[in-house]
Point group: C2
Chain length 216, copies 2
DNA sequence: TATGATTCGGAGGGTCGTCTCCGTTTACCC
DNA sequence: GGGTAAACGGAGACGACCCTCCGAATCATA
C-alpha cells in the first residue's frame, strides 16, 4: 500500500507526485500543512492521499527514507576524491548543497525521531567520516582540533540557509568559502573551545525538539 | 490592552508570564502551537490569553518587538570594543549567542513579515555594521571580500544551532571558532564566489517563506 | 474591611483539518 | 472490445482549535 510498486501506472504516478508535492508543501507551509491542500496541489482527491499514505506520519517517514537513500548516492563521489582534504571539501560542499535544497528535511527528521527514536538509518556513516577526518588531518590539511561531528554540524549550519527559499541558494557558497578557510590547518588557528560532541549526541541533536505531532 | 502597563499586579504578571511561555512554546512546538496550551502552561484560562493578545498575530508581533529591543541593548558593548576586529568578533559571537538562545525567532520574523512586510524596525543597523566592516578591513584584520551582509548570514547560521534545544548551547562555540578563523585576513584565503547580497535582500531573506498563517 | 472596577476561568459555538466510505472511473489483461 | 480488480473522488462524520461571553474572583483604594 505505501510501496510505490503497483501494477497500475496511474497509482505509481500519483504516489511519486504526492511525494514531490509533499516535500515542497512541507518546506513552504510547515510539516503540519493540511493534507487536503496536498491533494489539491497533486491534482487528486483527498481519498487518494490516504490510500497511498496511511496518515501524515507514514508520509513523513517515506520522505525521510528517500532522503537517506539520496545520501548514500552522494557517498562515492565524496570519498573518491584525490586527497582526503578534497574529500572533506566535497563533504561539506555536497552535503551542504543537498541540505540547502531540502528545506523540508529538518522538520522531517525531527518528526521521524519523535515517532520512533530507535530508527537510525545512516548510522553507518560514522566510521567513514571519522576515517576521512583522520586522514585529512594526517595530510596536514585539516586543522587538528576538528572532529567529524563538527563537520556534520557545519553542514547543518550551511544547509540551514536553504530554508529561506530557492532564490537564495546561489548565495550560501560565500559562507561555505569562509567555513572551508576556517577548517584549514594553519599557523595561528584559534584553539576550539569546549569538548566536541559524540556522534550519538549529534544524531540526537539534529533530530531533536521539533513541533510535536498531534497526539492521536 | 496589549500594553503591559496595568494598574493591577496580576494582569502585569500574567502578561509577562504569557510572553515567556509563548517564546518557549513556539520554540518547542512551532509558531502555530495551540494557544489553549499556552494558557495551560501559563496557568491561566483561555480567556486571559485573548484579553492580553487579541489573537496569535498580536502575540507574535509583541515577541518580535521585544526581540528588537534586546538587539538595541547589545549594540553598545559590541561597538565599544578596542579594535574594529574585536567588534566584529563580538558582533558574531554576541548576536550568534542571542539568536541561538532565541529559537522562536526565525518563525516569529517570518510571520511578522507576512503580516506586514513594510514593518522593518532595525533597518538603522545597516549603516553601523557597514562602517564596522570597513574599519576592520582597513585595520587589515578582516578579509577584504566579506560584507556586512555576509556577517549577518553567518550569525544566522550559527544561531540556527539553537533550534536544537538548550542542552546543545555550549557546543556551537566550536563552530564559531572556525567561522572567525575563516573571517581573518590571511595570505592564501580562498576568494569568495558569487556576488554579495544587498542589505535589503538580506532582510527579505531572513524574514522570508515561513509557514503561512491561517487566512482568517 | 468595604466598594467598585478590573481581570480571570472555562464552557461552548463556529471553523478548519483529518480520515473514512462507497459509488464511479480507470487501467490492465485477455 | 469486455471483464475484473484496483484506484479514484469528494461528501461528510469526527475531532481539535480559536475565540467569545459572562458569572466569579481578585485587586486597588479609601
Amino acid at each position: 500500500m505505501s510501496s510505490s510498486t503497483s501494477s497500475r501506472r496511474d497509482a505509481r504516478r500519483n504516489h511519486a507526485r504526492l511525494l514531490d508535492e509533499a516535500r515542497q508543501l512541507f518546506a513552504e507551509r510547515g510539516i503540519d500543512a493540511p493534507l487536503d491542500e496536498l491533494a489539491a496541489r497533486a491534482g487528486v482527491g483527498a481519498g487518494t492521499v490516504y490510500r497511498h499514505f496511511a496518515n501524515r506520519d507514514a508520509l513523513v517517514r517515506e520522505i525521510y527514507d528517500a532522503a537517506v537513500a539520496e545520501l548514500h548516492d552522494l557517498a562515492p563521489e565524496i570519498l573518491g576524491a584525490q586527497t582526503a582534504w578534497r574529500s572533506v571539501e566535497l563533504y561539506v560542499e555536497r552535503l551542504g548543497a543537498w541540505v540547502a535544497e531540502s528545506p523540508f528535511l529538518p522538520a522531517v527528521m525531527r518528526r521521524v525521531a519523535e515517532l520512533d527514536p530507535s530508527y537510525r538509518p545512516g548510522a553507518e556513516f560514522e566510521e567513514v567520516v571519522n576515517g576521512l577526518v583522520a586522514r585529512a588531518q594526517s595530510e596536514g590539511a585539516l586543522r587538528d582540533d576538528v572532529t567529524a561531528v563538527d563537520l556534520g554540524i557545519l553542514v547543518d549550519m550551511l544547509g540551514s540557509l536553504g530554508q529561506y527559499g530557492r532564490e537564495y541558494l546561489p548565495f550560501w557558497r560565500r559562507q561555505l568559502t569562509i567555513v572551508l578557510d576556517g577548517l584549514r590547518a594553519r599557523p595561528g588557528t584559534t584553539p576550539m573551545p569546549a569538548p566536541a560532541q559524540a556522534f550519538a549526541a549529534f544524531h540526537d541533536m539534529s533530530h531533536a525538539k521539533g513541533p510535536k505531532p498531534a497526539p492521536r
